[in-house]
């Protein structure tokens, strides 16, 4: 193990955490602030990844595009497409209460996954799209990872600042009011359906952006990447563990879960080789245990939602 290797590994983890943090931030808008139980993250992730792939790859036979457009346009298109897909879904599904919404969104994500797998004209079907350009991909291994990490970090920072600003603005207060007491908010004349739809679309757009960054990093996107296990439930674990309702918590949770997930394999590799295969499942167990412990001892996550307004002055007075 050399220093260069460690650096490369750290860069890789940084990139992955950045990408998943975008997904967690998107989910935080939907669940943490608007109380919308979206169990279809993988769907929006897929829409973003495939849209950007189609927009930015060179022309290919047998499927739509590629249009060979600049990268930024691809990422913008990814956000717009994910938002556009979210709009009709939200329009129909947001009338459902929490668990019904979860079921509906799981279904939607599954529909998107099956469309991706079954429409070769659109997405090249089960084979996936390859040769997706990666910015600074021609540089050396470490340098190119550094450049990509810088891009992901900037995107994440901008997203974080914007979301944070939005939450502290009147819009954020209104969203929390709707989440905590829908009737009261309605009585005050808030357009609840419309506001919820906004939160749903904003969150979905961020997830789409995360998908796009993921596809460009791997230079390929295949339906295997949008498995609900790795693209939906993992993000939920990250948000719940980090603290829903808190943007920094969402990012911290992502980092903690991914670091445990990835580094625990290095630890299990030290076991005797006859356990090498079986030991891989310890990682799944560790994540589960972690979630259990956090839910038991810190039910609001590692960084709970900051108290605001009246609740805060109550606590200060105590």
């Amino acid at each position: 193990m050399e220093l260069a290797g460690l650096l490369n590994y750290a860069l890789f983890m940084g990139i992955f955490i950045g990408i998943y943090a975008l997904l967690a931030l998107g989910l935080n808008i939907q669940w943490g602030f608007a109380g919308l139980f979206n169990a279809g993250i993988a769907g929006f992730f897929a829409v973003g990844a495939y849209t950007s792939a189609i927009v930015t790859t060179a022309a290919a036979e047998g499927r739509i595009g590629g249009f060979d457009m600049p990268l930024l346009l691809g990422w913008l298109a990814a956000m717009v497409a994910a938002g556009l897909i979210a709009w009709p879904i939200g329009k129909i599904c947001l009338r459902f209460r929490s668990d019904y919404l979860a079921i509906a969104t799981i279904g939607v994500a599954e529909i998107i996954r099956l469309v991706v797998k079954s429409e070769p004209e659109l997405t090249n079907g089960a084979r996936g799209i390859t040769a997706i350009p990666r910015p600074f991909g021609d540089l050396d291994y470490a340098l190119s990872q550094m450049a990509y990490l810088a891009i992901v970090a900037v995107v994440l920072l901008v997203a974080y600042l914007m979301v944070e600003r939005q939450f502290n603005a009147p819009w954020g207060r209104m969203m929390r009011a709707i989440r905590d007491n829908e009737l009261a908010a309605r009585a005050m004349g808030k357009a609840i359906e419309r506001r919820r739809l906004e939160a749903f679309i904003f969150g979905a757009a961020l997830m789409g952006l995360g998908g796009a960054l993921f596809a460009h990093f791997n230079r390929s996107i295949t339906p295997e990447a949008i498995d609900p296990m790795v693209a939906t439930f993992l993000v939920w674990i990250m948000l719940i563990l980090g603290g829903s309702g808190n943007n920094r918590g969402a990012i911290l949770g992502t980092a903690v879960v991914w670091i445990i997930w990835s580094m625990s394999e290095i630890a299990t590799d030290q076991l005797p080789s006859e356990y090498a295969v079986k030991a891989k499942y310890i990682r799944l167990f560790l994540i589960g245990l972690m979630l259990q412990l956090v839910l038991r001892f810190r039910p609001d996550g590692l960084l709970p939602e900051p108290l605001r307004g009246a609740a805060r002055s109550d606590q200060d007075a105590r």
Partner: protein, 400 residues
Amino acid sequence: MKTKALALVGGLMAATALAAAPAKADVKIGLLGGVSGPIAAMAPAMIDAAQLAFAQVNEQGGILAGEKLVGVVGDSACSPQGGTDAATKAVNIEGVVAVVGPHCSGAVLAAAGSVTVPAGIAMVTPSGTSPEISGLDDKDTVFRTVPSDDYQGRALARTLKEQGYAKVAVAYLNNDYGTGLANAFKAEFEAQGGEVAGFAAHEADKASYRSNLADLSSGGADTLVIFDYGDGTGLTILRQALENGFFEKFVGGDGMKSDALFKELGSDNLTTFVASSPVGEKSDALDVFNEAFKAAGGDPDAIFVNTSYDAAFLLALAVEKAGGDKAGVAAALREVSNGEGEAILPGEWAKAKALIAEGKAIDYKGAAGDHNFDANGDVPGTYALFKIEGDAFTVVSEMK
């Protein structure tokens, strides 16, 4: 409360960091496989087969200057996320000189695109069959010991046409394996003048495929070509097609060549069934491997074990040839198996090592074929058409 949770996180991280202490000067090759995830049932046998190759190397004097060759198992989870993570760790933390795997095509594409190609590490996948892998911009570092689905599909189409099948319907599993085979088959079968009267994908693990089958048979074909797995959905489809008499004749890809067919359906009912499957080149290589793997406690009939073994053994030869230089492994891989030089059978490590030391050319004859890589790092593969006789598969004809 807060400190408690933070201490826990810190403790876990410290434990993993400590455990990652540097190891001795072994030569390491990564074994990335879908240990968890959808192919969890297949992966352990494949990894065991690769480990068998390394065990043989170590028994016969080790690699390079007598160093131990170690397989580092990584869990690619059959997804791009898991594949890139496992590959990054293998390349950077373990410092492997080459990688066997990952097992699933999506993981192969992602791990190659973001890790092994930029790092210049040779990768040989024993089971990534997607045609997309051929076209990767890989600086000649990505190889495979399993033929592309494209190849098998085309070979099967030509063979069927020769055997007089004229009008067929195709049912394929909707994943990269089924889709790749089916599209290649359709293109070639139509190019040969055959008619594909039904062509439909299906999802795995449904209770009934009768409506799919009724649709497919409505085109008037008497033969059903199934690209699926014989111990899974493929069996269900075949059973329901037989029960309802939708088709008279049945053809399967290599995934359908499973003992489950005659065990579940009875060989009497399967007289009109044929399946294509890769066969070892006409040499003893496959027998040698089968015996060795059986002796090591493995099941040589498990899927992709021979390709896994070949990938591992080939990489060991290439590392020896390249003198342990990571950057030279990919080029050396072509030299140890290009059809020229002294033939090396599975397990003949001491002989190969001596020849390499003398500077003579060697040519590995693998359990799953000769593995003379083409420009894309693909192997042509040798296939035969099998039918069921008694309770066993017997060869009908070679496939060209």
